[in-house]
Symmetry: D3
Subunit: 251 residues, 6 copies
């Protein structure tokens, strides 16, 4: 089975750089996959992307060796299994707030006896290889989002869920949930303290750690802090850079 390069990157002690996709376009996905990112996340929750778009985008990403991750719309078995069958090499589940939710999530990603994922890896076999069924449980990443005060309260139990590979900090929702501002690249001391706490507990539980950011400087800081997977940019962020060009023309 095609190995998951994120494990190699982490084995080499490097933080992986991730790009986030909100635009439902295989052409955009292919353009960005050729830019050299370690991984790309297709966002089915807040991105304008449906599962059918994700199929096309996963195909486009498969023309490169960039690792494809998918954030599912919610912690539900249907979309988790569909994204995996389509060849996602990691699933990000939003708003995991308890051990029970985390177990349901991880179980949907793993074939028996480790979980209850149903057999039928249609496109995944094309991408991963004919031994997919045997090795998928060890290859595909399970990534739980920590982004609420409920999750902070249950952090230890969540992080020690068997089969969980990583946690991903969602700084906007976390901030809002804590009664602070909803923004990425958090500087609010309370939220930063919470983020540091998540990092510590997750590492202590032997989990990989990830965080959403929206610029290079902050992403570098997070990598320096110990995060294993940092989101640096997004397709919509790149498009939004065009607003500056209009101002330059006018100015």
């Amino acid at each position: 089975m095609r190995p998951n390069r994120l494990w190699d990157i982490w084995a080499a002690g490097r933080a992986a750089s991730n790009c986030w996709l909100n635009i439902p376009s295989p052409y955009v996905a292919e353009l960005i996959a050729h830019q050299g990112w370690d991984s790309i996340t297709i966002d089915l929750q807040h991105g304008m992307i449906g599962m059918k778009d994700a199929y096309a985008m996963l195909t486009a990403i498969s023309t490169t060796d960039c690792v494809p991750l998918v954030r599912v719309p919610w912690n539900e078995p249907a979309s988790i299994m569909q994204a995996l069958d389509a060849g996602a090499y990691g699933i990000i589940a939003p708003m995991i707030n308890s051990r029970e939710e985390c177990e349901a999530f991880v179980g949907a990603c793993r074939y028996a006896p480790d979980g209850y994922r149903s057999v039928g890896p249609n496109r995944a076999v094309l991408y991963g290889g004919s031994d997919y069924l045997d090795k998928a449980n060890r290859t595909v990443l399970t990534i739980a989002m920590i982004e609420t005060v409920e999750a902070l309260a249950a952090l230890e139990e969540i992080c020690t869920t068997p089969g969980l590979d990583a946690v991903l900090v969602g700084p906007s929702d976390l901030g809002l949930s804590m009664g602070r501002e909803a923004k990425s690249n958090q500087t609010d001391p309370e939220v930063v303290k919470a983020i540091d706490h998540i990092l510590e507990i997750a590492k202590g539980a032997g989990r990989k750690t990830a965080i959403f950011n929206s610029n290079v400087d902050y992403a570098k800081q997070m990598a320096a802090k110990g995060f294993d997977l940092v989101t640096v940019a997004s397709d919509t962020g790149m498009i939004k850079s065009g607003a500056g060009l209009v101002r330059e023309m006018r100015g």
Copy 2:
């Protein structure tokens, strides 16, 4: 943030006229949005419309000042949040049968601390404006469908759910659930009595009231009775009018 014109209409003491969309077509949506309806409902439950179609249709409706509402397929956070992120200004949830279900529904529509809606209003910011995050909780309508005997039994608790803006009577399902005929524009005395009861309880709880109808006469009666939002017609209803033309040609 762009205001929700339905609140203005209601403040002016007028009942709003709504058109219902079952056809997955942005062109149909744009044609109908130009007809002057106060609001349009994109039906993801019984319409042949998926979330991707809804994105295109919301965009088409955004070329006018018609208020876009979305009925989600079921009371589930994933589709509720996706419709809101895409710019829906109101969510209609089918078959709300208990206070617990209503709280789950309303919570999915509201950012913390009022609910658990996740942050990421991608297209909603384009439609609503850059202050969307601050004002969405007060702008976006939460509309629970009352259409079963279970809901009638829990009516008071449903209507008093904090954060609920309106209830919408579904006369076909309500009729069937009561052991009567499944039809809109109900005339069955038992069902009419139930509808009047919903109207009374909801108004008493300070909620706006809405009802599905399929012709102008019945819609006018419902507005006269006190309903705040009346569905008058649907895209498929307009298309079905073509059957009469065939008969005229033949006759």
Copy 3:
């Protein structure tokens, strides 16, 4: 091969009633195909419909015995052959202004030795039957639009083109081309005279005659006048009827 019911209708001395489709939606096409029209025209020229939509709409129409016609975007072999391969039972070519253009059009619709249509009736075989190749030349209708002063000047040569089955009057373009108003259901005496002239010459040449109209009354008049195929209504016309409902609600 499945016979072309329009020939049967004409053999029975009846004018056929046609509905016009501008909306790219197989659901609308299926709804309208169930209304009992003799034929339906998918408009690839002015409708918002592409060839891929036409494939889906032809499939939808094939759930009934309604005859599917396609107006191609322009008199070009590519789209003519694609529409036929997809199962269209008649092709309407816009703006046929000369004998040469008409011969190019008819040739694209006919297999050798009658024309130069290329072999590959992929979906047409499913719809028409396994003997499609043998009988298509006698089954599929070739319909040339007469809608300019150039066409009026070349009327005789156009109408006598071997292999041409019918002419279709386009009253809007004809009116505009003659320096009069661009409208369907023409009442302008000059344009009416030209329409009558087309009817006479085409009938004299043994061709079937068709005309675009947009209401039942005018369509009945045209049938009474001798037209063999009259367009009575359109999907967008049905949708536009909704504007009246808004006025009724407000009024």
Copy 4:
């Protein structure tokens, strides 16, 4: 209402032959529907098929008298009701592991008072007929998949669920769940024993029985054993036959 031909086939004492669709293509669906299968299953769980594709494929299948079944992604009311509204004549629900799950499934397929299916059979009326609402509960098949050790343990309770029409054995998941190999056309004695047990209990409860296979020989054996509905082939299986042609050319 158009009858469900599977009931007729079973009344005649014949096992029905089913073809499985994984490819999101109405053209493939139409090609296969013309091959003479008794039924076709559109797989929304493991197939690369979304609900919008299913609408187009159901339309394509409706050009023939082949019975359209849909496997939904998961046991959830939203997709069950959407597939039914689109004209599916049977719903296959994956991984039914308890009586409670089976009741939730069956209830989503039946109008009150038999269940809680919501009224709005948009395309289903076109396919089934104008009396759809009255007869759907007796026409549409409810088929629960038995494919885990949990389901084996609850077999009796599942099979006796009121309103359940049939059970479908999923041999790959069943094998894996039992700690054996995940494959169709099972020969593992333990799994075969479990399959026989399911057949016996289901028949004893008066349910129809179905099984997924992937070749003619095994399907014939299963029919001989008493299964009422056997899957014989799939669209992707047909496409995969092409790999042999490459070897032949090279060999």
Copy 5:
């Protein structure tokens, strides 16, 4: 009819800033339309965009007052008329190399008696208004690309074609055609001389002048030189900026 804001901008003596779209995505189009560009060009020639995408993108742009232009794939009446019917307020035709080609192009954009555009402005009426038919000939821009040595040789005849509104310099093709490098933002003295010549002749003939560029500096120079419409950026250019972020992360 909604006026063409480009005429207003030019009347005010300002050069218009244009953004170029290659990505088939209404969401990207809507994001960019909100950035404040004077006009946006949807490129059906080299962009990965088909006519169906263009319909969705024109709708998205219509949520703002940005002027929508379309470059058609080739100088052919079918796509020109479809883009106009869909609401394009200007058509850019590639590789206009002779007076005859330019007349064919302009004629396809104008209703009789000025040209041979066929009547059927389906979506254009929604965007432009109910008097579209009367005013379209004066509102919609005809823009001929000058990008070959053949065009240079016929420059005078092309520029004086009645009904032509503007010429657009394509620097890459022009460079290649002249035996120089194919690039935008030309600095090759021979090509620059040719560009200046085009500017002079076109202005002398009373035509507006446009040029494709790919950065702000060069676009400003071209505006200073007298060009009326300068392309400053493209959606793919914005996306490609992401490659720099990867380098920054790595560096």
Copy 6:
């Protein structure tokens, strides 16, 4: 630039095996691309495939090293250039009947000074590499179909067109055009003689030779005869093999 593997195969003295695609599905394309074919042809003429589908299918094929060819709908610059910009490594033009037509075809495939292809290889650069513009003229194959008696009469002039790489025999159209049966795998002596003649003249002119077949045996014969590129199978042919399975089940 990524080399065109067909040139390598031919340099090694081997005939290339090609598979033909009629189904508009990137999933089918990806499945077949993984089967080991030397090349795959996406058929935009008779296949149910539009340019947008072709983009997705080219992307899917790009996950393997299979060479992607495209048959355009007709000999027209628009679709030829779009297919090349999307990354096709060879263009097949139908019904090339004269030297003039062949020159127009080849010119549309080649950048100046060899032709008039316009610059803008959006996706082609991703697939081919950053030096695409320099090397495309030598890499991309131009393949003219010989399939009419007119083409037979002009064979020498067609085959000697500068820049033409290969000719492709279309046996169905050729047969029909010669007054014989329209079928692949021709055995009609007259048609076989014509095919042999084409092979001889084309080889004499230094062109590669290709032929459409529909089974392994005939394809092997053609390779033995000297054809350089033989079509062995098609996606629809694979699907159609399912009809035999129904017969086996019934038999």
